[in-house]
């Protein structure tokens, strides 16, 4: 609420550059488009990939050991029936006294692979995916590079955006300098002409000066002018300052643990909702509790200095105090489930290329204008049964109708 927060606590950030913003949003859009395309093409893959990413990637990689062994070529090493049994309940295979299984279990420090309640078909799809990935990993460069290419292009696009921005600025400065030089040159030439005319007696300088008297200001007028300019400056400054109050775009504080989304979401492709479980269900996407970190890190890189911080938190039962990056004001209601689950929006749409971020920065301005812009542009999911049932007779409800056209710009959608 206004006045509710003492002014000194009002979050302020003055790093918004209007020009940069335009370029950033253009490049952002390019980026979004890329991300959406990438996302949708990923959805088109057979189930195996989705199941693999949801269940396996937390512990396995194709071509490297993680919590569990590398999976490359596993379908050749072991037959399918054995693998199905193993995936469904590895402990029963171990208990059956199977030598290979027991050796493997011992080799991996008796870390038990959890049982997965998957159907035969689902496991087969996963195995097919592993097989395909193994082949891809074996083939030098080709497809692996292609897989990551969308991301790198996006980064390049953004860097290019910044570059364009700089080029534009330099061009403007250069142009300005040229014009200035030109003006100085013209003035010198004109003064030369005038001097020659005066010396030639063609012009009476006194008369000219008389005319210039008109432009002379009284002290009062001068004071007025100064005060006026000052007032204008103040107003302009405050207009700018108030327009920027509460803006934290680009805010990238140092976190207590140097957690890298680039490593987890990017390289290891752990699904966002593996950790941010609330995004599917509620208002808050939730920051994972330490036990979620420990799912993997009770094995992985136990001795790394950053991981030791997790262990310390875990053992001392002392929560990790992350620095909050995205701060919406209390009078604005935002619900992750509505956007992620119902509207099916990619996390990156608002959070930016999170899978590239070693340190998370606030990507979007989180201003009302930014929210509204998206509501104006984004089309509703016309296939949702809710809209079909409630808006069947609504003349506005037709293909391509945007959220804004369906009332998504109304105050009470976010403010109550």
């Amino acid at each position: 609420m206004k006045n509710d927060i003492p002014l000194t606590e009002t979050p302020i950030c003055m790093n918004r550059k209007p020009l940069a913003k335009i370029f950033a949003s253009i490049t952002g859009l390019v980026l979004m488009a890329g991300a959406v395309m990438f996302g949708s093409s990923a959805q088109a893959q057979p189930d195996g990939k989705a199941i693999y990413e949801a269940n396996c990637v937390a512990c396995h990689k194709i071509d490297a050991d993680l919590v569990g062994p590398a999976l490359k070529g596993v379908t050749e090493r072991l037959d399918e029936a054995y693998l199905i049994k193993w995936i469904r309940n590895s402990q029963s295979v171990i208990n059956s006294g199977d030598k290979y299984a027991n050796d493997l279990y011992k080799k991996w420090n008796n870390v038990q692979m959890p049982a997965f309640d998957l159907s035969d078909d689902e496991i087969k799809a996963v195995l097919a995916h592993i097989k395909a990935e193994s082949a891809a990993a074996a083939a030098p460069a080709a497809s692996a590079a292609a897989g990551a290419s969308t991301g790198t292009t996006a980064v390049a696009a953004e860097e290019k955006g910044v570059l364009d921005n700089k080029v534009f600025l330099y061009t403007v400065i250069t142009l300005g300098a040229v014009i200035l030089l030109l003006l100085v040159f013209i003035q010198t030439r004109l003064k030369g002409v005038l001097d020659s005319k005066v010396s030639a007696g063609e012009v009476d300088l006194d008369k000219l000066e008389d005319r210039s008297v008109k432009f002379k200001l009284s002290p009062l007028q001068r004071l007025g002018l100064i005060m006026g300019s000052l007032a204008f400056g103040f107003v302009a400054f405050y207009a700018y300052a108030y327009n920027n109050i509460g803006m934290q775009q680009g805010y990238a504080p140092k976190q207590p643990i140097a957690f890298s989304h680039e490593l987890h979401a990017g390289q290891h492709q752990i699904a966002c909702t593996y950790c941010h479980t609330g995004a599917e269900r509620g208002k808050s996407a939730t920051i994972p509790s330490v036990n979620v970190c420990m799912n993997c890190h009770n094995q992985i890189k136990k001795d790394a200095p950053e991981i030791k911080k997790i262990w310390s938190a875990w053992e001392n039962k002392k929560p990790i105090e992350w620095i909050r990056i995205h701060n919406l004001p209390d009078f604005a209601y935002f619900n992750h489930a509505q956007h992620y689950k119902v509207a099916g929006i990619e996390c990156q749409k608002c959070h930016g290329p999170i899978q590239e971020m070693k340190v998370v920065a606030q990507h979007a301005p989180l201003t009302m204008g930014w929210c509204i812009d998206c509501h104006r542009e984004t089309k509703i999911d016309a296939n949702n049964g809710y809209y079909k049932a409630v808006h069947a007779k609504n003349p506005k409800f037709k293909d391509g109708v945007t959220i804004g056209q369906m009332g998504g710009l109304e105050c009470s959608k976010c403010h109550y």
Partner: protein, 1041 residues
């Protein structure tokens, strides 16, 4: 047809100069600019002259702020996320509420591990999804900073170990131990008490009820051999007679009774059935105000009323009459009631709130004659919530006085405050060597305790309850204990066995026995989990009783009627017995009948006021039964000139900052005869003292100048014509030829209107079902973070409640037969003719002749933002802070509002509320619970906390609408009708409020909008409200010509 006139106060009825002056201005007083400017929120002390300085400061502060970095905010997740708990997602836990007076099976809503709302459990056959104001407000009592925080010995904090050791040593050497509690309905607590007595054979358990039902228990012991209160089926009764029995307000199980009672009040064309309710009472109660017919008598005439009703019914049914002095109320009400009851034999019910066993035996006799047992009274599931026998309590007092008791254990009772013998108990307790107290607060009684072992709040503890035979429910903690407290059952078991136990284990012990008894086919774990989830368990129970009472003996033992002035003690809907007096929500909840907040007062009749020259707020000294207080008066219709009413529950001295010093304690006025407590006093002396207190009345606030707001009819008229009473206004429109034509208001438009193609949220309120209990007011306050403003601000008409329940009085709108002499045109002779004339008082001049201040009709009308389709507020807002949504909502955007208050001025329903102050920060409003860190925990995180200078109003619980729509979108279907409920609707014990999508033709609200009784308030101004009311139908017989 004349329209009946309604009025809110005597001032309005008589148009007194004071009233006219009070209502003349648009605002009750000058704007509080001075106060606003000196408000201490910026940490500066400023006055108006400093305004510019402050202004300058804010400008420079903004400059400074604009240059600093953002403050660092933390996001701290759990180390280990508890199962099923996720931030921002609410969890619900079934639990049980019992404060020794009122029982409720509840659903506790928690967010991030803190309880924020308590609602009724719809699986419970008692609560049926509804909850009273007090039960809902109990969530705020959890966060009361003045709860007991540590175990103590004589006011000094000690450790639990020390306390246990010392108390156990004292118990071991005690010669006589007494454990005092309210009725124990918890099987686990009962088992603990039994074991305690087993260990210490000198111990005895005495239970009492604050408002005693001992009379009923004794009468039923004598009549049926069962000292219990049977179940009453108000839904099975066609004719209900209540005698000083506030069964819709406070008697035994009011929410359950209201649910049943209202079933036969929600009349419709498909089900044109309406119960008939006759009330005899000493002062206007909530129940009486809902009755179809109502008569008054003096409190000591109770026996006469019942005995005469008995005799009239007996002579009609041919049974033997009893010896009783003949007595009749005005209008031959008793005889009429007897006739109607006999005519409805088998579907009739008579209830009395008397604590006189003789009266209750006669009532049992009446019900026996009417064939009520087995039809409207059910002995298979009697209540266990009233078990206290007055005689045993008196025995304890005598024992203590004689110094025969070594140790008294007070298990969550406050006898010094809540009993008329309080002073005697205080004296007697001084002779008891050790007093151990389990109370949750250092209250009047706990302050005298040697050892104080504070109990948890019920939301922190494990427990169980058996409110009725065979109906069980569990309590589970919804939050970890906030203070260093301990479940009193754990304390008692510790004293018994010396071992620390967990109430959870005790509970599972009790319930494993119950599991075996219930014959459940599930294993115990499954049974336990499902019961814990549902909160309730019903096991079959049966039982009948045959009447064997001696009515003749009872009639001869009746209390004699007194001649002088009498006092009637009653419980308010808000505070009840006063155990939650320190709850600001309840203190600020307007009393349904007097519309008064933050006080108790002596209700007097208009006649007495005129005699003694008293006006509202004048102080009087009240003396009776050797006790006296000085208290302001309040004029209330519906009581005799020599009868006064005074509410209990006030005048606390050690309850906390919200309760202490508010009102006077009325308990000591109660008459105690042989230990039996009667909530009345005879021989009362009332004298004017000259003092004056401004009462914080909301009754004349937001007044609407006698416009046609409530509509009513009689059942007879309704049967003839379903639209009876629903008179629709017309506008006379001048035509081109100069003539006038009647047109429906909706046809005359100055607005373009809106189209609602998707949802159209709407609400229907049945005036015939609404009992005015006020549960919705507290529900709304809890749901929408409505601030508490305190008495001073209420006097300035700045209460913030988003929903108010308007109460209108009117005079009977019945009919009478009049004989007139008329000229016969043919014979030219004067002849006698009988005419049916309406006696309804409709015209100003008729009021002058009225001297009847006893017979009054009452209508309750809940009013909240009507979400008008043509909203006048929207058109005047200069900053578009209030706008219209495509779903018919009138949206209020706080962060856009600049506080011009134009919208409030332009609102025809006066439902907008302005934040004059920063109630959540300004120390002046220290009673607002959200001023403390603990009190803030009760806030609903889905609703913005409003700041100073912004307008607010009912939003139709838009957060619930949005939440419901999200669920529907996730499921990919239309939200089911009833899936989205407003807070007021959800809690309404009478199901009077129905909310839904009127565009959904299958919805309940759509059907109700089509109902013949449905009307829009102030239809003539064509603002097209989204709230419709249903005409009230009184089941009143008109006289046949």
């Amino acid at each position: 047809m004349d329209i009946k006139k309604y009025w809110k106060s005597y001032g309005e009825l008589e148009q007194t100069p004071e009233y006219l002056q009070e209502t003349a201005g648009e605002f009750s007083e000058e704007l509080p600019l001075e106060e606003v400017l000196t408000e201490n929120t910026l940490g500066l002390s400023a006055n108006r002259r400093d305004f510019l300085k402050v202004f300058g400061f804010s400008l420079s502060a903004a400059t400074l702020a604009a240059c600093t970095d953002a403050p660092v905010r933390k996001a701290i997740p759990f180390v280990e996320m508890p199962e099923q708990l996720s931030p921002s997602i609410a969890n619900y836990f079934a639990s049980s509420y019992f404060d020794g007076h009122e029982y409720a099976s509840v659903l506790v809503k928690t967010r991030e591990g803190r309880p924020i709302k308590v609602d009724g459990n719809n699986l419970s056959p008692i609560s049926k999804g509804a909850a009273s104001a007090r039960v809902q407000a109990s969530v705020l009592s959890l966060y009361d900073t003045q709860r007991a925080k540590d175990p103590m010995k004589k006011g000094q904090v000690i450790s639990w170990d020390e306390l246990d050791k010392e108390v156990m040593a004292l118990l071991a050497s005690a010669k006589s131990i007494r454990l005092v509690s309210h009725s124990i309905i918890s099987p686990t607590a009962q088992a603990a008490i039994t074991n305690f007595i087993g260990k210490y054979p000198t111990a005895r358990h005495i239970s009492y009820d604050t408002v005693s039902a001992s009379g009923i228990l004794e009468a039923n012991q004598a009549s049926f051999g069962k000292p219990l209160v049977p179940s009453y089926k108000f839904d099975a009764a066609d004719v209900i007679v209540g005698i000083n029995c506030d069964f819709l307000g406070n008697w035994i199980s009011p929410v359950e009774f209201t649910k049943d009672y209202s079933k036969n009040r929600r009349i419709s064309a498909e089900n044109p059935k309406l119960s008939r309710h006759i009330q005899f009472e000493s002062m206007l109660s909530l129940t009486g105000s809902n009755a179809d017919s109502r008569s008054v008598f003096k409190p000591t005439q109770e026996g006469l009323v019942v005995a005469n009703l008995y005799n009239k019914i007996a002579s009609l049914t041919g049974a033997a009459t009893v010896n009783a002095e003949a007595f009749e109320v005005a209008g031959k009400g008793i005889e009429a009631a007897a006739r109607e009851l006999v005519a409805a034999k088998g579907k009739a019910l008579v209830v009395s709130g008397s604590n006189d066993a003789n009266v209750q035996i006669l009532v049992n006799g009446i019900n026996q004659m009417l064939g009520s047992y087995g039809t409207t009274i059910d002995w298979s599931r009697p209540y266990l919530t009233r078990q206290g026998m007055d005689a045993s309590l008196q025995g304890l007092i005598d024992e203590m006085k004689a110094g025969q008791v070594d140790v008294v254990i007070l298990a969550d009772v406050n006898p010094i405050y809540e009993l008329p013998q309080g002073a005697a108990i205080k004296e007697a307790m001084a002779k008891v060597a050790t007093v151990v107290c389990f109370n949750g607060k250092v209250d009047e009684s706990a302050a005298l305790a040697t050892y104080h072992a504070p109990n948890h709040h019920y939301l922190e503890s494990w427990g169980d309850a058996q409110p009725k035979v065979g109906i069980y429910s569990l309590s589970q903690p919804a939050i970890s204990p906030i203070f260093n407290t301990r479940n009193w059952v754990e304390s008692l078991v510790k004293f018994t066995t010396g071992n620390a136990v967990d109430a959870y284990d005790l509970l599972r012990g009790t319930w494993s026995a119950l599991h075996r008894a219930s014959g459940s086919v599930m294993g115990f774990e499954a049974f336990w989990r499902s019961t814990l989830h549902n909160g309730v368990l019903e096991v079959s129970a049966s039982g009948t009783a045959s009447f064997a009472g001696n009515v003749a003996a009872a009639a001869s033992g009746l209390m004699k009627a007194s001649a002088g002035e009498e006092l009637f003690l009653y419980e308010k809907l808000s505070l009840g017995t006063g155990n939650q007096a320190n709850n600001p929500w309840l203190q600020e909840m307007p009393d349904p009948l007097t519309r008064c907040t933050w006080d108790n007062y002596l209700t007097i009749s208009k006649k007495f006021a005129d005699q003694q020259n008293l006006k509202d707020g004048d102080h009087v000294k009240v003396e009776a039964n050797g006790y006296s207080v000085e208290v302001p008066v309040l004029i209330l219709p519906g009581q005799m000139a020599n009868v006064f009413g005074l509410a209990v529950g006030y005048g606390r001295t050690a309850a906390g900052k919200a309760a202490d010093g508010v009102g006077v304690n009325a308990y000591p006025f109660a008459t105690v005869v042989g230990g039996k407590r009667h909530m009345m006093a005879a021989g009362v002396k009332v004298t004017k003292t000259g003092g004056f207190t401004q009462l914080a009345l909301t009754q004349t606030h937001h007044t609407i100048e006698g416009r046609d707001l409530v509509k009513e009819t009689t059942f007879e008229e309704y049967l003839k014509n379903k639209t009876a009473g629903n008179i629709r206004p017309h506008i006379a429109v001048r035509q081109e030829d100069g003539s006038f034509k009647k047109q429906a208001p909706a046809t005359i438009k100055i607005w373009e209107g809106h189209e609602y193609n998707g949802h159209k949220w709407a609400m229907a309120i049945d005036l015939n079902a609404c009992t005015g209990c006020g549960a919705c007011v507290v529900a709304c306050q809890a749901e929408n973070n409505v601030p508490v403003v305190g008495k001073d601000e209420v006097i300035r008409r700045r209460e913030m409640h988003w929903i108010r329940i308007d109460r209108y009085f009117s005079y009977d709108n019945g009919y009478a037969v009049e004989t007139k002499l008329e000229h016969n045109e043919e014979t030219h002779k004067a002849e006698k003719h009988q005419h049916v004339v309406k006696t309804g008082i409709t015209k100003e001049k008729d009021y002058a002749s009225i001297k009847d201040y006893e017979n009054i009709d009452v209508v309750f009308q809940p009013v909240m933002c009507m979400q008008c389709n043509n909203a006048p507020c929207e058109t005047v807002c200069p900053v578009l802070a209030t706008t219209h949504s495509e779903e018919g909502l009138n949206q209020m955007t706080y962060n856009r509002c600049v506080g011009t208050r134009y919208c409030a001025n332009n609102c025809p329903y006066k439902v907008r509320r302005f934040n004059w102050f920063n109630y959540f920060h300004n120390e002046k409003f220290y009673l607002n619970p959200s001023q403390t860190d603990l009190g803030k925990m009760v806030l609903n995180p889905d609703v913005t906390v409003r700041s100073r200078g912004v307008m607010e109003k009912c939003t139709f619980c838009v957060q619930r609408i949005q939440g419901g729509k999200l669920e529907a979108k996730r499921a990919g279907k239309r939200p089911e009708d009833g899936a989205i409920k407003t807070a007021c609707q959800q809690t309404c014990p009478a199901d009077a409020i129905v909310f839904g999508d009127v565009n959904d033709v299958n919805s309940e609200v759509h059907k109700l909008f089509k109902n013949e009784r449905s009307y829009a308030m102030l239809e003539e101004i064509n603002v097209q409200p989204s709230v419709n009311y249903l005409v009230k139908v009184r089941n009143r017989k008109s006289v046949q010509a």
